[in-house]
C-alpha cells in the first residue's frame, strides 16, 4: 500500500495530545526541588541616578543580587552592548531592573520592602525630540527630484501607530539550575542560543558550562525573542549566587510593565503621482521609538524601511529612517518587526492618493503593483514568484470589492483593502552571518530532528517532521523532534523572521536528502540495526545570485517575499462610534502550504492580532510607564470582537524553499490595520493614527 505523503496534508500536530490533556509542561508546571523564588526590584522613575538602595526587612533566608554580583559583564548581550542586566548607577526607564531578591517562602518574598531613592533627571518621552539614535537607515533609488518633477500631483500624509503588547497568554518565566560548575536554564523562549550567548557573557562562563532548554512555550510572537535573555540572566545570577534552583515567573502586570513591545512609529509620506495613478516618486520619513536601550531597534528599523514603500514599482524613492531613544521600557520584536508600522502607513496613504485622484483603490494598486522583473526600493529584482497582482485581483473578486465600494457609499459601512508583502528570513547578509545548522539523527525507529527552532504554537515540530518524512520517504510518525536543548541541538538561529520553514526547513530537507543517499534502499530501522547511529548536519548556504550591500542598503534584501491582500468590511455605530469589523477576507501567497491547516492558523491568528492593532489595543503611557498594565484595561479581541474570516492560500513555489515554501508567520499581521483604516475612510471617517478607537473616530466625525 503506498505511503501517504505528509507535506500538503493536515497531519496531526506532534504535541497536540499533550496540549489538549494538560500533559504539556510549561515552565510553571515543572517542579524543581529546593527552589528559590525570585522577585525583581525595579525602577519607579523614568530617568535618574540611583542614590541609595535600602533593604527594610529581615534578611534571614534571603539571597540578594545586585550589579556587583555579576561575574561576567553586566550587559544583556544582543546587538549593541548598552543594556545592563541590573542597573548599577543610573536608570533610563520605569521598571528597569535594579536588584533581585530570592526566598523559598513566597509570602516573605512578597512582603520584603526595598526602598530605592533616586536623583531624578528630566526624562524624554518624545522620539522626535531625542538626542540619541540607535540606528539611521537611508534607502535611495533613482533621483527623487526627477521623480517629483514628473508628477502631476504631490500627496502628503502623516501616520502614527502606538505600542502593541504581544500578550502571549503564558507570561515570561524561567528556572535556572546551578549544575556542573555552570547553569542550566529552562524556560519559555523562542531562541535558546540567544539566551545561551547572553548567559555566557553575563556569567563569564565558557559555552559548555551553559545549557539552555526550551520548555513548552505558551505563545511568543517576538515577545520571547530577546527578552528571555534578560529574565534568564536574572534567574541565573540568583542560581549561581545561592547555589539553588531559582524560579522567576512574571505575573501579567509585571510582564506588561517591564517587557518589550512593538515600536511606536511616525511615518511621513510625500508622494509624486501621475493623474492616471502611476507613482513617480516616494519620499518617506520614518521615526521608531526604541525605548531606553537599543535591543533590536536597528533590525526592526531595517525591516520597516525595506517594506516602507510597499509592494509597488517606483523608480525614484528616498527613504530615511531612525530609531531613537526615549526613557520608556525598551521596545523589541513583535510579529512583523517594523513592517506592520510602515505598511500601515503606505497602505493608508495609497487610499489618500486614490481619493485625491478619484481612482478606485484597487485600480490604483493594480497600476503600481510589482510585477516579476520589477525592482524594489533596494533594487532587488522580484522573481516569477511575485504574486502582488494575483492576490489583489483574487481578493477583489472574492469580496466583490468594487461593487461594494459603490454600494456602501454614504452608509455606516465601509470596505477597505490593503496590499502587502513580507520578506522571509533575515535581511540581506543576515542568514550568512547566522550560518545556521540543522541535524538529523538516525534512531531505532526512524529519525530525530535536532534544531534550535522552537515550537511556540505555529507548528514547528509538525512542519519540520513533514518535510523530513517526505524527503526521506518514511512515515510522518517515524520522525521525532528533539527538545530544543543546547546540549543536543545545533544553533539553527532564532525562531523569528518567518525563517523556520523556509530556511531551517530547507536545511532539514538537505539533511534528509543526504541521509536518503546514505541509507540507500534501507529503512532507517534496518540501517540502524546494521550500522548503528548516524547524524547528518547541514549548514546554511546562500542561494546563488543573492547580493546585498549593507553600506548602501541596496540589493537583495530577502531571498523571497510572500504577498497578500486583505479586504475588510467595517460597520461604524453612529451612536457609540465603535467600529466593528464584520467581514474579513485575505488572500495570501506563501509559496507552498506544508500543512494547510497550520498555515491557515497563522493567517487567522496574525490577522486577528492585526485587527486588534487597528482598533482595540492601546498602550496608555503616563510618565513613561504603562498605565493600563492589566488584561482588564489592555484590550485584545475576544470571540465577539473577531469577524468571520475567509482565507485563501495561493501557492507559487520559491525555488530555494523546502517544497517551494516561503514564510508565513508574520505577513498576516501587516495587512489588517490599513485595510480597516481604509474601510473607515470609505465610511467617511478619516483617521491616520492607530488604534482607531471610538474616541478617535468620534473626533474624526465631529
Amino acid at each position: 500500500m503506498p505511503r501517504r505523503r505528509a507535506v500538503g496534508r493536515n497531519v496531526l500536530r506532534k504535541e497536540g495530545h499533550e496540549k489538549v490533556t494538560g500533559l504539556a509542561r510549561y515552565i510553571d508546571d515543572i517542579r524543581f526541588e529546593d527552589v528559590l523564588y525570585v522577585r525583581t526590584i525595579r525602577s519607579s522613575v523614568a530617568a535618574g541616578e540611583i542614590a541609595e538602595v535600602r533593604y527594610n526587612f529581615d534578611r534571614t533566608g534571603f539571597t540578594i543580587v545586585d550589579h556587583r554580583d555579576i561575574p561576567g559583564r553586566n550587559i544583556v548581550a544582543l546587538i549593541d552592548e548598552d543594556q545592563p542586566s541590573l542597573a548599577a548607577t543610573r536608570v533610563r526607564h520605569v521598571a528597569e531592573p535594579i536588584v533581585l531578591l530570592a526566598h523559598s517562602d513566597r509570602t516573605r518574598l512578597a512582603a520584603a520592602e526595598v526602598a530605592v531613592t533616586y536623583r531624578e533627571t528630566t526624562p524624554n518621552f518624545d522620539p522626535e525630540r531625542s538626542d540619541v539614535s540607535f540606528k539611521l537607515i537611508a534607502i535611495n533609488k533613482g533621483r527623487l527630484d526627477r521623480g517629483m518633477a514628473e508628477a502631476d500631483l504631490v500627496v502628503e500624509g502623516e501616520y502614527r501607530a502606538g505600542h502593541q503588547e504581544q500578550l502571549y497568554i503564558e507570561p515570561n518565566g524561567v528556572v535556572a539550575v546551578p549544575e556542573n560548575g555552570g547553569v542550566t536554564l529552562y524556560g519559555s523562549l523562542q531562541c535558546p542560543y540567544y539566551v545561551h550567548r547572553a548567559l555566557t557573557v553575563l556569567l563569564g562562563l565558557p559555552a559548555e558550562k551553559v545549557r539552555v532548554v526550551q520548555t513548552e512555550t505558551g505563545g511568543g510572537f517576538g515577545g520571547k525573542e530577546e527578552y528571555p535573555s534578560m529574565i534568564a540572566g536574572h534567574a541565573a545570577l540568583m542560581a549561581m549566587k545561592s547555589g539553588r534552583p531559582a524560579k522567576l515567573i512574571y505575573d501579567r502586570v509585571e510582564d506588561m510593565l517591564a517587557t518589550t513591545k512593538r515600536h511606536p512609529a511616525i511615518v511621513r509620506h510625500r508622494t509624486g503621482v501621475k493623474k492616471d495613478g502611476r507613482l513617480t516618486a516616494m519620499e518617506i520619513d520614518v521615526v521608531f521609538d526604541g525605548g531606553a536601550y537599543a535591543t533590536l531597534s536597528a533590525v526592526v528599523l531595517s525591516r520597516g524601511m525595506i517594506h516602507a514603500s510597499g509592494p509597488y514599482r517606483c523608480d525614484h524613492i528616498r527613504a530615511r529612517g531612525r530609531a531613537t531613544m526615549t526613557n520608556t521600557p525598551p521596545n523589541g520584536a513583535f510579529r512583523g518587526f517594523g513592517a506592520p508600522q510602515t505598511q500601515f502607513a503606505i497602505e493608508a496613504h495609497m487610499d489618500v492618493i486614490a481619493d485625491r485622484l478619484g481612482i478606485d483603490p484597487l485600480r490604483l494598486r493594480e497600476r503600481n503593483a510589482l510585477r516579476p522583473g520589477d525592482t524594489t526600493a533596494t533594487g532587488q529584482k522580484v522573481g516569477k514568484d511575485c504574486s502582488a497582482l494575483q492576490v489583489l485581483r483574487e481578493a477583489g473578486r472574492r469580496t466583490a470589492f468594487s461593487r461594494k465600494r459603490k454600494a456602501f457609499k454614504g452608509s455606516n459601512r465601509g470596505i477597505g483593502l490593503s496590499l502587502f508583502f513580507h520578506g522571509s528570513g533575515f535581511t540581506g547578509g543576515g542568514e550568512v552571518k547566522l550560518a545556521s545548522k540543522a541535524s538529523l539523527a538516525l534512531t531505532e525507529r526512524g529519525v530525530q530532528i535536532r534544531v534550535a527552532s522552537t515550537e511556540i504554537g505555529q507548528g514547528t515540530r509538525t512542519m519540520h517532521a513533514q518535510i523530513v518524512a517526505d524527503t526521506l520517504g518514511i512515515p510522518y510518525d517515524q520522525v521525532d523532534v528533539s527538545i530544543a536543548d543546547t546540549a543536543i541541538v545545533p544553533d539553527s538561529g532564532p525562531t523569528v523572521a518567518s525563517r523556520t520553514c523556509m530556511i531551517v526547513g530547507r536545511l532539514l530537507q538537505r539533511c534528509a536528502e543526504d541521509m536518503r543517499t546514505r541509507l540507500g534502499r534501507m529503512t532507517p530501522a534496518a540501517y540502524f540495526k546494521k550500522h548503528g547511529g548516524l547524524v547528518v548536519t547541514k549548514q546554511y548556504e546562500k542561494p546563488p545570485g543573492l547580493e546585498w550591500d549593507d553600506e548602501t542598503y541596496r540589493g537583495d534584501a530577502y531571498g523571497s517575499y510572500g504577498w497578500a491582500c486583505d479586504v475588510v468590511e467595517v460597520e461604524v455605530d453612529p451612536i457609540t462610534y465603535q467600529a466593528t469589523p464584520v467581514a474579513f477576507t485575505t488572500v495570501h501567497e506563501i509559496g507552498r502550504a506544508i500543512h494547510p491547516m497550520l498555515a491557515a492558523g497563522q493567517i487567522e491568528g496574525g490577522s486577528s492580532q492585526g485587527l486588534g492593532y487597528a482598533l482595540l489595543e492601546e498602550v496608555v503611557m503616563r510618565g513613561g510607564k504603562m498605565a493600563n498594565a492589566q488584561l482588564t484595561n489592555y484590550i485584545i479581541p475576544t470571540t465577539l470582537d473577531t469577524p468571520p474570516m475567509t482565507i485563501k492560500i495561493l501557492e507559487r513555489p520559491y525555488t530555494h524553499g523546502p517544497f517551494g515554501a516561503k514564510g508565513v508567520g508574520e505577513m498576516p499581521i501587516d495587512g489588517p490595520a490599513p485595510a480597516v483604516v481604509n474601510a473607515l475612510r470609505h465610511a467617511g471617517i478619516v483617521v491616520s493614527e492607530i488604534p482607531a478607537t471610538p474616541e478617535k473616530i468620534m473626533k474624526a466625525k465631529l
Binding site: L640, E695, M698
Partner: protein
Amino acid sequence: MQGTIAGRQLLQPRSLGDAVKMLRDEGPIVPLAGCTDLYVALNFGTLRPTRFLNLWNLDALRGIETRGTALRIGALTTFTEIITSAAIRRRLPMLAAAAREVGGVQIQNRGTIGGNVANASPAGDTLPVLLAADAVVVLRSAAGTRRVPMTAFYTGYRQSVARPDELIVGFEIPALRGRQWFRKVGTRAAQAIAKIVVAGVWDTARADARPRLAMGSVAPTPLRLSQTERALGSGASLAEAQEILQREIAPIDDLRSTAEYRRQVAANLLGQFCSVRR
C-alpha cells in the same frame, strides 16, 4: 500573583443570623460573595482588608420570587441565574440584558447582584438598572432589617449608606410599566468594563408618563437622571433634554475613555432611548 493570603482570615457563618452577629461583634470584616471583584485586588496585592466573611453558602440570600407586586431578588443571585430566570425575563428584562454583558460565562456563574451593588463601582452594569427600576435595597443587621431606596443608597465614590455591620440581603423591585431599555458601551464586544452604561423605562401608553433613566460611568456614583427625566416628561425637545443631561453628568478622563467621549455618547444614547421608547 502578588497578593498573599497569609495573615488573612475567613470567617464561615452557618446562617444569616450568624453572619450578622459576626459583622456586629467581630468587625471589621468584608463580606465575600462571588469574589469576582475582590480577588482581582487580592491577586494584585492591593487588597488591604485582612478579615473576610464567606457568604457563599447562605441560601437565605438566594432566590428570585414575587412577593405581592414586587419582585424580590436575593443578593447572592448570580448573573447566570438572572439571565435564565423566567420571572426576571418577564418582569425585568433590562436586568437580564445587563447580566448578559457583565463578563464572560465564568464571571456570570460566580458574580452576584449583591456583589455588584456592594462593590459600588460607578461602572457597575446592574446599577443603572436598579436605579431606573426604583429598586429597594434590603439590608440586614443584628439589629433588624432596613430598606433603602437604590436612589438613596450611594453617597459618594464607592460609598454607600450601608453600615459596616449591615449586609445586603436582597433587592425588591416594584412592578414596572413600560418599555425597558439597557445599553452598555464597553471597551470591546465582550468581557469589558463599561465606558458608559444606561438603563431606562418609559411607559408611553400613559400621557403623563415620565421616563426613568439612569447612567453609569458618568459620575462618581451611578446616577439617576431625574432632571433629564423631568424635562422629557414635560415635553422638552431632545436637544433641550441633552443640554440638561450635560449638566447632570460629570464624566472624567480615565484609562478607558475620555470625558468628551462620554458626554457625546451620553447625548447620543439619550437620543436612542427617546426613539426606542415607541
